[in-house]
């Protein structure tokens, strides 16, 4: 089967998705993705030039709500699930670029 994605591609996609793989995993995921993409290639049998894309099952438009503020969560409820918090805020390790 032709290689649609290389291991390098897989590592790039992993970066976009904030996932990391060791060598063995990268091989495996490259292989899996190529299998699936190979199957997906089947869609190219269809000519879809004049077909509109569908992003929603139903044609619903312009769903809005009134601009009315209501009670928010308490700070305690907002942060109680956080692995780390400090001064009512979510604590994260330092940002290094």
């Amino acid at each position: 089967m032709s290689q649609t994605v290389s291991k390098k591609d897989v590592l790039h996609i992993a970066t976009l998705a904030r996932l990391k793989f060791d060598d063995e995993q990268a091989e495996r995921f490259t292989n899996d993705l190529n299998n699936i993409l190979g199957y997906i290639d089947k869609l190219n049998e269809l000519n879809t030039d004049n077909i509109e894309p569908t992003s929603h099952a139903l044609d619903i438009y312009t769903v809005t709500r009134p601009d009315k503020a209501e009670a928010s969560l308490s700070n305690e409820d907002a942060i109680r699930n956080a692995p780390q918090s400090e001064n009512g805020m979510f604590r994260v390790p330092k940002v290094i670029e």
Partner: protein, 483 residues
Amino acid sequence: MLGKTLKELSEALNKKEFSSAELTQFYLDRISKYDGEICAYNYINENVINQAKAVDEKRAKGETLPVYAGIPMALKDLIIQKDMPATCSSKILEGFVPPFQGTAAQLLEDAGFLCLGKLSMDEFAMGSSNETAYRKKTRNPWDTSRVPGGSSGGSAASVAAGLTTFALGSDTGGSIRQPASLCGITGMKPTYGRVSRFGLIAFASSLDQIGPMTSNISDNAAILSVIGKYDKKDSTSLNVAQEDYAKYLTGDVKGMKIGVPKEYFAEGIAPDVRECVNKAIKAYEGMGCEIVEISMPHTEYAVATYYIIATAEASSNLGRYDGIRFGFRADADNLKDMFYESRSQGFGDEVKRRIMLGTYVLSAGYYDAYYIKAQKVRTLIKQDFVNAFEKVDAIICPTSPTTAFKAGEKMSDPLQMYLSDINTISLNLYGGCGLSMPCGFGADGMPVGVQLLGKYFDEGRLYNLAYAFEQQAKLPVMPEKLK
């Protein structure tokens, strides 16, 4: 208490044949007896017995109670029940206790139901065998060496094993219908927009829908009557009137046109499954239905289309699991590592595979070739349904190509696993309603399910068709050894 419909349970409670506490304890006892082997429950609500007692007290005082007051049920572990853990069977959500109530859970609560606990599933609903669950890999009650199907495997198994009165599941590409079929119960995927998705942890937003999983048709209709309500909190919920589906259950199906799409009976369908489904079709013919052979030519493209759209949406929906506001966080001394480590340690392989595929099909240079292409083919698949429903009232076909397979059998080949959803996926792309109900047993003695597909908001008709068959077929709904 087993084998009673919800209506019968409600009447028995009102007549004080047994109390809510007794009923609840009955299920708790069954859970402690059987769930060690079946592994359906991720979480058991310790407090439910007290809630049942509170209902009994109110009943004793003669207070007016909602119709299903004090009847216990259980939820798939991606449906939010306030203050109860919601893990999606994923390590990354361990410890998350939602501080808010989901709409489906609220509607059930308003109707009087009590929540026994949360049911295992494939991780983030990604899987067809419940084997991608981080902890509880649920097994099929009919044969615990086999899978219950997925992703609502815990829901299907718990209903089949009598570990709850009914359960809610969710269906993105067959996740209610396929496990219902494999476990010999009834599962309905309602029309997209019928049940609010507020409180449903998203896999693929344009396809996901909550639905009831029950041991009989009238319970299923009863539950959808409760949860099938327009919700302002879900922009994709359609503002149509709530219905009492019980009124459709007449058993009179004479003159209805049922389509048999040849593409759903393709090579991969096992002979014993085919035979059972053909018997069901014959039964409908006998009841005065007109059976019409139809064609849905784009069916073979559904799996490919689905795996692009669903994974693209999932790759975005699952970005929020970053270890900051809830759930699992890996130790890391800088932010970048925290993102990578939390997500890499927190997600299982199948979830990663789908995030990777979804990220790839949306990435620069591939968006048109994959994502837009899939959305266009979705239009064609939708059109197949629209065309079919111009000719027929409902569509009948096998739910799953095979009966429940052995645990471990398909885990090494993701693509083979994806293809087990071949008959259920198209419906989600269209957005209509679909129901799976038992129609017999395969050569291996495992349940076989038949699927009825309907147009938008035509659940009532499907329920009536299913009810007519159920009344005639009178199939056993629970393994003998569990009674």
